[in-house]
Symmetry: C3
Subunit: 323 residues, 3 copies
């Protein structure tokens, strides 16, 4: 049974790119297109989710991600409840399932979940009532699918068709939930070639089985690429055994104008943010003409509005059909 | 002078069950009935408190309780301000009264107060301006009246009339503001018999003067009961001298399917949440067919909407009459 | 180039009183007058900023100031995002500029900024896109202009014309961003005489160059004054070398009924709050008939509504003119 798609083929929950199909991804991108203009209107709200209650259930602090979901929900006219679980009932020893049941009993309609454990969003989706939708806002090392979809949306807006594209993902592939979701989405949307570029210590074993070509040399890895997706290097990682130092990392994998010249002339540079300037890339690239990093942020709102409204609409339809 | 009821007999503040009367309690339950269906509508909002500002003034952290009040306020279309005082002006040495005066000057209309000191809500109600309403969201060991009223609402929905009912309250009666409010409400609404069940160390002296029968044996205490209201055992208590251990407590007072068989066949089991599974009751009971624990959570929203709108309406009427 | 006023003479950002002119200050006071009645309406909201997103970007915790801006924004029907930067991306090493760019990319319309560094709000205003407005909610020792304007509004409501007034500002002039903004506003609005009263250690060098008369004796300083504006004494200061003790401070500079008799009979007493009772003044004065401290709090909402709506209107007009 597919948790994410209901028997009518509609998006029920949004947990990972894995388990979805090309049609749904395209639906999300098309819906996001319709929302992309909303923030430019004088009154940047649409009444689609008026009267709905959306809970940002964050078991892991992330102001940045929480903010984008909160804005997306508010622009859909929903009521938003921010719950940071570290500071609350987790302390009282309430289980995840009890938290869920309680919020359901309060007639909340959607959970946006961030959790340090891989699979937390799936677990919740497997246990919620039929009228409730779950959106994964990042679970452990597993997935961060709205990030991947805003990346896809940005690529499509910049480059059009995915077919002819060569896309290089650069950074800590091993630990990145973002990379995992990006690779799945790119392959599902038919990107011509997907590459990963990283030190050997930050590449998963048998990474090619994910449908990518692996490189340990940056120049080779981005050679003739149309799209370069940099990953954020977690500071914790820089102090570990897997990586010598931030300085050394930049020396070998940091993106500079000079290195960027190995990619196609019209290659775009992406990053999920926040950037470690001087580690993943220098400021000349981050703020340069190839960078679409701020467009990614804008598109993040539109894509989250798309996913939220699609999932909510399918849950409402399901509720109507059930009666 | 009765702080809670104005000279027209209307609910002015909601501070404790004590000091109210049967008619007002029934009014609250009836109003809650009218709100109970709101969350099931597609747009689950009513415009009753549109343009009003409600302040959740929490001097004691409680995400759970704060969330229910926030949802209730938003479904009444009010604007909500969450103020956690530990993290703010209390640090700067501002007194409770100055905090109050300042928020009043900002034209806030209602204070939902949670405080570690018994009497804090009464103190505020005694000092606010006539157009402002105060709702007690738990003060020290004194009262937690919205919890008691949502319990009454749940009982009435399940059992109808209070007259023939035998209700057993089980747990730390001595320290529980919930129990105190429940006993008052049950007696005021005319419940046939109210019992308390606890180890002798967790029973108040002369507990019978509250209008209850006291038991130290669980089986006897719940024998033929229609309603069993379990209290939450505070973890702090388990480490104190009053109680041997959580394990020992469960052994003597934990509710199991087997023990539940001593109550009436159609007895319901209640708990204010969050449950300590394996302490107050085992999961079979908590999630079993007799449990109405999640209904209590749902009803909590309706009851809080009822109390908020009744108090606000009476303050508006008073303001009109004053001019 | 004047960051605060656009080429049409409209308020673009509100960063400090310095750099504005008398006409704009009067415009703000007049606009505030039109908003002062809003909180007294049954539905205390106006739809002026509906669909706009206002970010409270607080790099320094201040529940009190954040609350007033949040209320002002909500009463203008805006969506409000509260971001406390200590607890978020600052930890991840994101720069102020990156934070700004990201929130702009999310189509936020206004930043209300509080920062420990003088000049932070100016820096942001110098770097935001043309359609975004910046409001300074206090930056280091530099300025707190909405506080100064609510003080001016309170004085105008109490005293009418500024021309004949003698105003004494009492307290830690040296470290106070409030005092700096007040002095500028009073001089710009043409107050007859502006005095500062403080121990010599808490007076800036060459303070007279700010356009004030300096006093170290309280009685002389408030002699025949129409308005006495007390400053809040920071507790940190009381433990430093500049000041002997809170007790000693009160002994020399604390306002009592007796000392107040040296001012004019109808003199008013102001304080930005929260008051240290028994340090800056005793409770008899704070709660007495001359005190307009709570009016200041009320007026704070109206003045912030005025500044927000003026800046937003000019940004919208600028956006229209640009296309």
């Amino acid at each position: 049974m597919n948790l994410q798609i209901d028997d009518q083929g509609r998006l029920r929950h949004f947990l990972s790119v894995d388990g979805l199909n090309r049609d749904i991804l395209v639906d999300i991108l098309d819906a996001a297109e319709s929302f992309a203009g909303v923030p430019e209107q004088t009154v940047k709200k649409v009444p689609l989710l008026r009267g709905k209650t959306i809970v940002n259930l964050f078991f892991e602090a992330s102001t940045r991600t929480r903010t984008t979901f909160e804005l997306a929900a508010k622009r859909l006219s929903a009521d938003v409840l921010n719950i940071n679980i570290n500071a609350s009932s987790a302390v009282k020893g309430e289980t995840l399932l009890d938290t869920l049941r309680n919020l359901e009993a309060m007639h909340c309609d959607m959970f946006v979940v961030r959790h340090a454990d891989s699979g937390a969003a799936h677990f919740m989706a497997a246990h919620v009532q039929p009228h409730v939708a779950v959106i994964n806002a990042g679970d452990g090392r597993h997935a961060h699918p709205t990030q991947a979809m805003l990346d896809m949306f940005t690529i499509r807006r910049q480059k059009g068709d995915f077919g002819p594209l060569c896309v290089a993902i650069v950074g800590d592939i091993l630990h990145s939930r973002v990379a995992r979701s990006q690779i799945q989405a790119l392959n599902m949307l038919g990107a011509g070639e997907v590459r990963v570029v990283a030190p050997r210590t930050l590449l998963p074993l048998e990474v090619e089985s994910l449908g990518v070509r692996a490189f340990t040399d940056l120049k080779q890895g981005i050679h003739d690429a149309d799209v370069i997706m940099m990953l954020r290097l977690q500071r914790e990682r820089m102090q570990g055994a897997l990586l010598p130092s931030a300085h050394e990392y930049f020396y070998r994998y940091g993106l500079t104008e000079k290195r960027l010249s190995h990619a196609k002339d019209d290659a775009i540079v992406m990053h999920p943010g926040p950037i470690n300037r001087g580690v993943e890339m220098d400021s000349q690239v981050a703020d340069g003409p190839r960078s679409v990093i701020l467009q990614q942020v804008s598109h993040g709102i539109a894509v989250r509005m798309a996913v939220m409204s699609m999932a909510m609409r399918s849950r409402e339809a399901a509720a109507r059909e059930a009666t």
